[in-house]
Symmetry: C2
Subunit: 465 residues, 2 copies
């Protein structure tokens, strides 16, 4: 009955949820470019205060430490249960920053339009992560409006650097460890598949992000001199091609040494996971997968195979026409996805040694941009039942359990510093083009995810786990 | 005596030469971007008319052929000798277009400033090729002012597409073959070495310029999907690394098949050519040459070794911060320098076959941007003496003879269509940073080159070769 009544409240409040999400989308917050971050943090805090959440803007500022001044704030929110103040505490982890919008020319609308069309809301951050964030704020707001209280304590930790690798969240977690203390964490996103089935994910891959820079002559030279001057773009191409085989295998010595093997239980979960390969290929416009893998191998890859990806390449003249130069430098941006129990610091040293051993030590500079360890919440954690049952009710279909997302987040830091299990569940349609042009969110999934969050709060406060 | 007196005229007219060159530099004319081309053509024609050269602006326009409308004009100029109308005809080939200025941020001044400082004039085109052009116009102007006539017939052919591979000069040469008829061609540039010695070059390398494009997913994807989606940047890197060994050797089958071997005479000329390796390395900020070649091997490479050069690379996100995407496409711009008797059309087919055979046929699109054959004027051509003696007098030191420049130009078309020998001689200091930021020309060399051109005209009209 409780459930029915909050669902009606959520349904009747959807236009407010959509309007608030549009406000969030229209406020750019591109952490990679430090664009709009302070204004967006202020807006998020306003929306939370309006929802009845006590809000605080946290920083890492220390007197005299000017370097910390430009670090985006973390917005902390809290609602203590009046009737049940000693109950467990549920923490929502989200982020208010978004990916850069490039390539701008491929957007059909202004990337920050928040345009509603065909049951979708368009714009950078509409799904990742402003769409997810609004469902959680609104779930709390609707529950408070309906009952004047929550059945358990709630916390929000909303950071501004998720899209640049959550560079400082570990420092925030260590500094505010007691303030953030919680018994369970709802992760910042959760996917919903093509058949409206929610996917509950228990883990995240890790990440190592580096820049490789090859240096050549002190300035661009006339390309006729390529007979004598070593071209840094060639050096970079040679270095890169030594890192990975054509079938995706990483050729750096000991790269896979610490990779944790799947348990029999994990393999069973993977094999039970549905995965519409054909739909995936159609959505991305590809004909086959890397190394021609299929079926279960593709699913295992998403969950637990490390990658080496070229995120960007730049050198010389790339405009129209035949400019004949020999560039003075060449840049590659690389991201390596890691799995348990790989350590980014160990891996970057292996990369450096590999380049040295292969004769690239003199020319290639390695910029360590970010490292993050992988994490998986154990599949026997009792909170999984709460999350699973809530998602099943809200979405009206059996959730899919995934032992890990293919993406990366600071789950290892949250889980180990707060000693709390982490669960990804939310509103993001798997084909909503996050990180790409024309990102959108589905309003039907925002509605169901809000109901799911309300149900998790209700259960978390009443079920004695 | 004739010589002394025109030299005095040139010395006293230098400030006008510098001012006219500044006007030319300040008028951008970037053919790759179709920027300022018409205005620059008009300015060149004005300066020529002012010099007493009868000028005509030629086009490839044909009624109804709209595609030809955007092709830059060729400026044709002519002075017929009054006293010697049946004399031989000397043709000056030059170009009024310049390279793009990118990377703009490395210029210390506005790239089109024409700033005079320390005996140099700075700006894009100051050396290549507006500096060369002005010495030839002024040589004619000073001779006409002094004597009211020239001892031989003179023609100018000044094109606007040299920096984009002289795409239409062959068509112009074929269309205006009779108008352009000449007995000898002074090529658009000529180098002067670090010891103020003019370098007379008898040849040019050829060029094949292509774009390779690898296509991946229909839009940029989240890089976590790199476990399944083939990354086009990897495909491109793999394709590129199959083209060339680390020591510069091109690995495409039959690439070197038609390469003409050096004759014993050519090898002797090469071995007599001075080449300050240390100075070259210092100017370019490099420690060693490709494949560690030295001495005579380095000189042979400049004159006669084919190259495969990466002029540009572009893919994905190359800005600040760790954007984690899997790009939807990747681009490489490649230029291959060719030597006699390689044919660009044959070579591009070999490249295509190579990519197909190595499994890149499905993904890589090859855009053929331009092809140009190499050419060498035979070293026993009698006009060489005229050019050599004139340069020796003007520069006050023995010219260096080179059998070929390392650069490319349409010499093969001029030499074969007009049946005329071609000689490179001019004012460009070897370290004047052509095609690079902060291009400059040396005023002392402009002065000497103008004297050299005047002397060539005088000799060409009087020596019965």
């Amino acid at each position: 009955m409780l459930n029915e009544s909050i669902n009606a409240k959520i349904d009747s409040g959807m236009q407010h949820l959509v309007a608030d999400l549009q406000r969030l989308i229209r406020q750019p917050s591109v952490s990679a470019k430090n664009e709009g971050m302070t204004d967006c943090a202020r807006l998020v805090a306003q929306l939370m205060e309006k929802a009845g959440i006590q809000t605080e803007v946290l920083t890492l500022d220390r007197q005299g430490d000017r370097k910390k001044k430009d670090i985006p704030s973390v917005i902390f929110g809290e609602v203590r249960s009046k009737t049940n103040p000693n109950s467990k505490t549920l923490l929502f982890y989200n982020h208010y920053d978004v990916q850069p919008v490039e390539p701008v020319e491929l957007w059909k609308e202004d990337p920050f339009s928040g345009k509603v069309s065909g049951g979708r809301i368009y714009g950078r951050g509409s799904a990742d992560d402003k769409g997810e964030l609004i469902t959680r704020i609104k779930a709390v707001e609707f529950l408070l409006k309906k009952y004047g209280d929550l059945p358990c304590n709630i916390k929000f930790v909303i950071e501004g650097e998720e899209e640049i690798g959550s560079i400082h969240i570990r420092e925030y977690l260590l500094k505010y460890k007691h303030k953030f203390a919680a018994d369970g964490v709802i992760w910042e996103f959760g996917y919903v598949d093509n058949n409206s089935r929610p996917i509950i994910s228990l883990g995240m891959k890790g990440l190592l992000y580096v820049e490789l820079v090859a240096k050549g002559p002190i300035r661009d030279a006339h390309s006729s001199l390529a007979v004598l001057i070593e071209n840094p773009a060639w050096r970079l191409v040679q270095a890169l091609s030594s890192l990975r085989s054509t079938n995706g295998e990483i050729l750096i010595e000991d790269w896979y040494k610490e990779v944790r093997q799947f348990t029999r239980e994990e393999l069973e979960i993977i094999s039970n996971e549905p995965f519409d390969e054909q739909e995936f290929r159609e959505q991305h416009g590809i004909e086959k997968f890397v190394s021609n893998i299929l079926g279960n191998e593709a699913k295992k890859a998403l969950v637990g195979i490390p990658t080496c990806n070229i995120a960007g390449l730049n050198s010389g003249y790339t405009g129209k026409g035949p400019k004949t130069i020999l560039p003075s430098s060449a840049l590659a941006k690389l991201d390596f996805r890691l799995v348990p129990d790989m350590n980014p610091k160990t891996q970057v040293n292996r990369l450096k040694n590999h380049l040295k051993r292969n004769g690239f030590g003199d020319l290639i500079e390695i910029g360590f941009i970010h490292g993050e360890r992988a994490y998986r919440t154990p599949i026997d954690n009792p909170m999984l039942t709460t999350v699973k049952d809530s998602a099943a009710e809200a979405f009206g279909s059996n959730p899919i359990i995934s032992i890990s997302s293919s993406g990366t987040g600071p789950m290892h830091s949250f889980a180990t510093i707060l000693s709390a299990p982490c669960f990804s569940v939310g509103s993001t349609y798997v084909f909503s083009q996050i990180h790409s042009p024309n990102e959108f969110t589905r309003i039907d999934f925002l509605n169901k995810a809000t109901k799911c969050m309300a149900r998790i709060i209700e259960r978390f406060g009443t079920v004695g786990e």
